[in-house]
């Protein structure tokens, strides 16, 4: 019954929850971080040799792999001259004791859709360059695999998707009698504009204290969570996933998110500038 929410349930003990909340109220965190401090973030591109583009992101113990696969398909009727982007997320049963076997649940679907919206509306990909011929366009699949979930999947998954796309190559098209075929022997760069890379930053709230980059335990203890996605200086996606916020809190959260954005963006840029070093 994936069509009714919630799907499954997630736990934290009452005592642990209260400990986390008490600490944050005093502006401390269980792992000793500042409120505006991200965990160590590591981005590596080109980690999957079978993919057309790939990246892995480790944000503390959270671990996400993104793989890009390119295919050929039909355009959407309302955009006949544009390629198609599909973002899919699988939270592997490896990732936590709470993940059930089965098709993507509401958490995985929301994750994919938030990442998708961030990428889709900011001009990061030039969709028109993915046109092949009348009725035929490139289809770009971005598959997100969550291997370990220690919280803040959205920020990690968005970063992995963006890095994987930046590292991706577009196979050439070979036109044959039987139709169009991809020739992975000849490849071009994926048409992305790194300057517009969307960056998702989640902000959590306990009481009235805001903080960045929640761990899994912190996520289960919050009074509110909201994710902002930025491209250049624009806001291109927002998703409140837990709790409630006042207008003032949203404004403060937005400012805090911009700090996180800068940290994530610089991790992304280092990875893209030195792909050789990061390759497996």
């Amino acid at each position: 019954m994936a069509s009714i929410s919630p799907y499954g349930k997630r736990f934290i003990s009452y005592l642990r929850r209260e400990q986390i909340r008490r600490l944050v109220a005093g502006k401390y965190r269980v792992d000793g971080r500042r409120l505006d401090q991200l965990r160590d973030v590591e981005v590596r591109v080109g980690v999957i040799s079978t993919a057309d583009g790939s990246a892995e992101v480790r944000l503390g113990k959270t671990h996400v792999v993104a793989g890009v696969k390119v295919g050929v398909g039909q355009p959407f009727p309302d955009a006949p001259d544009e390629g198609v982007l599909v973002v899919n997320a699988e939270v592997l049963p490896h990732a936590s004791p709470y993940t059930e076997i089965g098709p993507p649940d509401e958490f995985a679907i929301e994750l994919a859709r938030v990442v998708d919206r961030g990428i889709r509306h900011c001009g990061y990909i030039d969709s028109k360059s993915l046109f092949i011929e009348q009725g035929r366009v490139y289809v770009v699949w971005v598959d997100l695999c969550v291997i370990n979930d220690d919280g803040n999947l959205t920020d990690a998954a968005n970063l992995a998707a963006v890095a994987a796309l930046a590292s991706a190559q577009l196979p050439a098209v070979a036109k044959e009698e039987a139709g169009v075929r991809l020739d992975r022997g000849r490849r071009a760069k994926m048409p992305v504009d790194p300057g517009r890379a969307p960056v998702a930053v989640s902000v959590c709230k306990i009481g009235s204290v805001l903080f960045l980059d929640p761990t899994f335990e912190e996520e289960l203890s919050v009074d509110g969570k909201v994710t902002f996605t930025f491209s250049q200086d624009r806001i291109v996606a927002v998703q409140k996933t837990a709790g409630h916020f006042t207008y003032q809190e949203i404004e403060s959260a937005l400012d805090l998110a911009l700090k996180g954005r800068d940290a994530l963006l610089s991790a992304l840029r280092s990875a893209l500038e030195s792909p050789g070093a990061a390759g497996q």
Partner: protein, 246 residues
């Protein structure tokens, strides 16, 4: 963004004649589904949402119940004939699954689930006609259905949408505005507690546009809230009339 078939806004007037900060006609009927413990039909212009609540009732299977609070389950679904052009496949789409989740998370802050240990409360929402702002209308309908079911609530959650149309921040997107606008911002708001409980955004916004849209959404929610209170009162007045005579 694609070009709309008609200008969406001209001289400060929207394609359907509204001012930027104006809601479409809002209609509310509470108690329309007789088998349900609570229900409401809400329309924003041509968008129509029917919400029904069953519960609090026993949770099956039991291992999904919680010892210290109730579980609220929410389902948002679109009728196959609710969309403008092609028939919508009735199987739940990824979009419907995501919206079910965000509506649940928008309603949870308002419902005193701690009063309902081990029980479940089911909220079912069906979109009969979709012309933009369906999740906003759904939220208002679901809140009213919960209130109608007598579920303890801290406040009503009112849904409204804001949008960015040709650079102008507008309230309550219609279907055609939703399709061609530069940004969409569905909001859930508790007017008494002054808390946002639903917040999504799509498109390309400056910080100022975003904050202005939030303010507009608050005003829209306050307007719809008055209509919602009247509808609730109306229902209980008419029950009182039935019971005590007019």
């Amino acid at each position: 963004m694609k070009k709309p078939p008609v200008p969406l806004i001209r001289d400060g007037v929207r394609a359907d004649g509204r001012a930027p900060d104006q809601m479409r006609e809002v209609k509310i009927a509470v108690g329309a589904v007789s088998n349900a413990d609570g229900s409401a039909v809400v329309s924003y212009g041509a968008t129509v949402a029917v919400a029904a609540v069953y519960g609090p009732r026993e949770m099956h299977p039991r291992h999904l119940s919680l010892p210290d609070r109730g579980v609220m389950r929410v389902r948002y679904h679109m009728a196959p004939f609710s969309t403008k052009d092609e028939r919508k496949n009735p199987a739940p789409s990824r979009r419907e699954i995501e919206i079910s989740k965000v509506l649940r998370e928008a309603l949870e802050p308002a419902v005193m689930l701690e009063q309902y240990s081990r029980a479940r409360i089911d909220v079912f929402i069906e979109i009969l006609q979709a012309d933009g702002s369906t999740r906003a209308a759904s939220l208002t309908a679901a809140s009213l259905a919960l209130a109608d079911a007598g579920v303890y609530m801290r406040d009503l959650v009112i849904g409204v949408s804001a949008g960015l149309v040709d650079g102008t921040v507008v309230l309550d997107l219609s279907g055609i505005e939703d399709q061609y606008c530069e940004g969409d911002l569905p909001v859930g708001y508790m007017p008494n507690l002054r808390q946002f409980t639903l917040l999504q955004l799509d498109g390309t916004w400056t910080r100022e546009q975003f904050l202005k849209a939030l303010e507009l959404a608050v005003r829209g929610a306050e307007y719809v809230y008055q209509r919602a209170r009247e509808a609730l009162k109306g229902k209980y007045m008419s029950i009182a009339e039935e019971v005590y005579g007019s």
